[in-house]
């Protein structure tokens, strides 16, 4: 005769269930989202990677790779580097303490290198809101930093372009000088 295991019932079953539930509740879980960071916080890791790729790598462009938080931080930032020696460009996407993406880039976007001193994304957004009061409650969809193509009068300036989506389907574009801290251009489109 085969001896069968009896399922836990009654008091024993309840105790075991409570214990299992307790263990499940206290076990640490891996969080899917990472901590939002300012653009400059992601820069050192991107710089290290770029130096390993090419000794003459220069930063040409950066933008938020994930949605921006209201304070101008994002979970991931994308950086575009160019090497004149290799005649190639490479992109890195950096989240808190980790390079999520590293890939060669065939975009052929060759602006001048970004200045080494630029106002960080949080401070830039705060200053823009200070001058554009109607944008105080709005979060930009995009923030990108580039030198050259955004300001006709001062094309050598490193500037942020902030793109604020509007309720009517258009966007409010604001060009912010990342060195002097001035709003240089505004337009709707």
């Amino acid at each position: 005769m085969v001896k069968r295991c009896r399922p836990l019932r009654g008091e024993h079953g309840r105790v075991v269930s409570v214990l299992l539930l307790f263990v499940w509740a206290v076990l640490p879980r891996e969080s899917a989202a990472t901590e939002p960071i300012a653009a400059r916080s992601a820069l050192p890791l991107a710089e290290k990677a770029a130096r390993a790729w090419a000794p003459d790598a220069t930063l040409l462009y950066l933008e938020n790779d994930e949605a921006l938080a209201p304070d101008g931080r994002a979970e991931r930032w994308g950086f575009l580097y160019h090497s004149a020696l290799l005649a190639r460009s490479r992109a890195y996407s950096v989240e808190a303490g980790r390079i999520a993406v590293a890939e060669d880039c065939d975009l052929r976007f060759q602006s001048a290198p970004i200045s080494s001193t630029w106002i960080d994304s949080e401070a830039a957004l705060a200053k823009v809101r200070g001058e554009e009061t109607q944008l105080v409650e709005q979060t930009p969809a995009h923030m990108l930093l580039v030198r050259g193509p955004l300001d006709d009068r001062e094309p050598d300036r490193t500037s942020w372009l902030l793109v604020f989506p509007q309720p009517d389907g258009t966007s409010r574009f604001v060009v912010f000088d990342a060195t002097s801290g001035e709003v240089r251009r505004r337009w709707n489109g």
Binding site: A52, D65, G78, V101, F109
Partner: protein
């Protein structure tokens, strides 16, 4: 007869033992043809037959979607700069006058310098005191620059990318190993007779070293047509070491013996 045979067998056995013992000792003392022991704390890593696929994560989306707009803006800036270059014009006559005045002023200065050089002993002593003050200032500056240099060296260490060193040990069945990091071209490592001899005697060969990106990445290792992929998580502030036991290389890359360890910089 049988007693004599027994004696002969015993003598022969003793002779064999006498020979076998030093030979076995020699074998024990002889370096093994397998790889050397890796450093304490090293982990054995396993190679894959196929390169792992990267995660599908997008980057620089705004740039990709608006590339035409941004490149158009760049071209417009370049066009505006080029059109600002004008045709040459004649030199303003005032500049020529200013040049003559400047030359006359330089000549007057030179003559006043000659007069100053004919001063008395008191002027010389005053100059010596000023020189001593200047030397003290230079020493102060040298100390500040030394501190600044120490600071810069520390910053350089922090900004330096992580490095990886590839080491070989063990007798290799082949004479050529290929090593390909993700960001560098393939490196064909030739093992000449001298290197092979050193490896067979228990030596270690540094086959490659270079900077690597601080991220999870795969390195390709190939030998005699067999290709394996080694995936490592490269830490930003560490030096990484990979030790390959060449005696384990065969047609199955998943059976290759590879160890990995790190050292903080």
């Amino acid at each position: 007869m049988s007693r004599a045979m027994t004696t002969v067998r015993a003598l022969a056995l003793r002779s064999v033992l006498r020979l076998a013992l030093p030979f076995s000792l020699a074998m024990v003392g002889c370096p093994a043809t397998a790889g050397v022991e890796p450093r304490a704390g090293a982990e054995q890593v396993h190679l894959e037959r196929a390169r792992p696929e990267p995660d599908e994560v997008k980057t620089l989306r705004f740039l990709r979607e608006n590339r035409a707009f941004l490149r158009g803006r760049l071209d417009a800036v370049r066009t505006a700069w080029d059109s600002a270059i004008g045709a040459p014009t004649s030199i303003d006559a005032r500049w020529i006058r200013h040049r003559a005045e400047l030359d006359a002023a330089r000549a007057a200065l030179a003559s006043s310098h000659r007069a100053a050089a004919e001063d008395s002993l008191n002027d010389g002593l005053r100059a010596l005191a000023e020189l001593e003050s200047a030397l003290e200032a230079l020493e102060r500056t040298a100390r500040e620059q030394s501190e600044r240099l120490t600071e810069l060296r520390s910053e350089l260490d922090e900004s330096r990318p992580p490095s990886l060193v590839l080491l070989f040990s063990g007798a290799s069945p082949s004479s050529e190993i290929a090593w390909t990091p993700e960001i560098s071209p393939a490196r064909w490592i030739q093992l000449d007779a001298q290197t092979k001899e050193a490896l067979s005697r228990g030596g270690i060969v540094e086959a490659w070293n270079g900077y690597v990106e601080p991220r999870r990445q795969s390195f390709e290792l190939a030998s005699d047509g067999a290709v394996g992929y080694l995936t490592l998580a490269v830490e930003p502030a560490s030096s990484h070491y990979v030790l390959v036991d060449l005696s384990s290389l065969g047609s199955d890359p998943t059976a290759w013996v590879v160890h990995h360890w790190t050292e903080a910089r």
